[in-house]
Symmetry: C2
Subunit: 360 residues, 2 copies
DNA sequence: ATACTCGTTTCAAGCGCTTTAAAATACGCG
DNA sequence: CGCGTATTTTAAAGCGCTTGAAACGAGTAT
């Protein structure tokens, strides 16, 4: 049955080399036999451990590549004390996570660790994603924007080092690497207030802790600018759709705000979308600020003013936190807060009334 | 030293395995000891294999959950003949792949298979991604939009069942599940020609086989409409950036085309972007059609007319192809071509000259 | 009684690799 | 040339689980 996948490549193999794999995937002892050494030596050579002589080394390496040997991951994992595996949980539909994963993978590799990805999807919740990782012998977990409650994360952390990226966790247990989201929103408010806006509304991001933090940043910044009375938060979410819904709510408000902050870029996109459909000029009649600096936000027909999280810095700290705990013996809790940066593009401008007033 | 208090002292014959898990992760024999049965029985129960009696079953299950037992994946993998693992290679930055992965994961699970994800990123090429999967005991590979040349894929297929999704592979070896890309482009040309366009340019997608197929579709469709003389292909790519570059090339052409087809939505976005910056009215002065029906293409301020690939159908066939080969003993090659669908949105309209001519 | 089922449970041999202690070999030197 | 030491190699004991064969009662037929 499977034979069809394994045509006679035996022909090109040396039939004399003891126990030449006949169609079967070559194993460590095939290489050992071919090179005339023990499996222990082969293992040592292949992992680059000091010990075997240069001559042996070369011979083993030659035979290994000749046989097309590839170590069996499951077996290595099982046999070795350490897996050197870092599990990463991500939302597969989230481009922000994709960027983080790229960087984490690179950084981890650099430190001699391998990354196991576990995706959260529609039909696969975070719990499942984490469990898979746990079963895979991961030594540590990097959770991108985890949704689980703090106590669950804390419980997890008792099993293995856990670092939550991008979301605050109100607990002194898991490591947290995140951007100062409140500050990010404050930057946006500062920018808008500086342009002359006073009636600035915030489109909320839902129940999450991250949403709460951004909302708090909005509240605080508004008050700082003496705009406490104009604080207005309307329900939203983290999707384009929720942004569009929010737009309609927004347009019904009187007096209509001159600027809107959204929880993230996706919501901003949806909002922008709905505003355009409703013939509201952006930024002429209304300014919009997103959050995340997603790849699409810099496209010219969108040109979204947004808040950028420093991804390289975020991942660098995340991997460092893991490594320190795994290799450095660190046991204390750590929370790193990376400063966000406002990226001003085309969706923000002075408010309309001011524009009218100015010439007068 | 091991803990002295153990769950059950009586029915234990083997004093060596008598330790209770002291801080260490519980193993199969911990559960076995606790339930007073052998590890074999526990294994049977946990995997739902028929044999153990209902009473034993319940006792084992109870103890397992009491101890918080989780099977070690590496060990199970190593010990079992089959891994029931399907490896999926994806481009982590590609939202189209993300959608495919979601569906594949769900479908595979439904068939009792697990999915191992391997991401292609900046610093991790397809080769690496595939190797990881090979080392992980995958029984089959699903490659999303593979870049490797056909002969490499064929070689791979000799090791294990491989199905390439979304890209034609000119070889009668690996299974291929793809959309009829030439037909997709033809649909777009039909649409544009129907609107009255004649000067329709195609922005190419690079060297890939998929790009070649779409390009061919363009050529053929143009000739079908008697527009063979107006065929014009300009260099492009699969990113926003390449689309923007193409736009500039496009604007230098005389006579300027009234419609453009792009290799994919991302290129269309970049193109749209550049057109807007150049004050070209879309679709008034120029119509634009993308390809992929990406989530963002349906946003109102984009409203991209595009060609949709039938994702659910694509993944359904992909998983079916794998299962049939793994479980059904199929050995022959298969190529499934799913028909694309044109999604008309706001970036296409009759050409400008015609609009002028009509009222006259 | 014996033999022969059958349902349940266990034995024990791995899966393919790592790792440690110990053995074999090589080396240096009086 | 023997002995201590450093270098290289290996035997063997697992890692935690699965699995076919064997064992074990307890029925049932003979």
């Amino acid at each position: 049955m499977r034979d069809s996948h394994r045509p006679r490549q035996d022909a090109e193999r040396d039939p004399l080399s003891a126990g030449a794999p006949a169609g079967r995937r070559p194993r460590l002892d095939d290489v050992a036999a071919a090179a005339g050494v023990s499996t222990a030596t082969v293992s040592l050579v292949l992992r680059g451990v000091a010990g075997p002589s240069a001559a042996t080394r070369e011979r083993v390496l030659d035979e290994a590549s000749r046989l097309g040997y590839r170590p069996d991951r499951a077996a290595s994992l099982l046999a070795s004390r350490r897996s050197r595996l870092i599990g990463v949980v991500m939302d597969i539909a989230n481009p922000f996570h994709a960027q983080l994963v790229e960087d984490v993978q690179e950084a981890a590799e650099h430190q001699g660790y391998d990354v196991v990805l576990s995706a959260v999807t529609r039909g696969r919740d975070e719990r499942r994603a984490i469990e898979t990782l746990l079963d895979s012998r991961c030594e540590a977990l990097v959770l991108l924007g985890p949704l689980a409650p703090a106590d669950q994360l804390a419980a997890l952390d008792r099993q293995l080092p856990v670092v939550a990226v991008g979301r605050p966790v109100p607990s002194a247990e898991v490591d947290v690497i995140r951007a100062a989201d409140d500050e990010g929103v404050a930057l946006a408010v500062d920018h808008l207030a500086g342009l002359g806006h006073r009636n600035i509304t915030y489109v909320d991001g839902g129940r999450g802790v991250m949403a709460a933090l951004r909302r708090r940043g909005y509240h605080r910044a508004m008050r700082t600018h003496g705009l406490g009375d104009l604080i207005r938060v309307i329900g939203g979410g983290n999707t384009e759709e929720s942004g569009a819904t929010a737009a309609h709510a927004l347009l019904g408000v009187d007096p209509r705000p001159t600027a809107v902050l959204t929880f993230n870029d996706r919501a901003a996109m949806g909002l922008l979308d709905a505003l355009i459909r409703a013939d509201v000029d952006v930024p002429g009649a209304m300014s919009v600020v997103g959050y995340d600096d997603s790849p699409f936000s810099r496209l010219a027909h969108i040109e979204l003013t947004t808040v950028s999280q420093n991804i390289p810095e975020l991942t660098e700290h995340a991997v460092a936190a893991v490594i320190e705990r795994l290799d450095g013996g660190r046991t204390d809790h750590r929370e790193v807060v990376v400063r966000p940066r406002l990226v001003v593009r085309g969706t923000t401008a002075p408010p309309p009334d001011q524009a009218v007033r100015a010439p007068a």
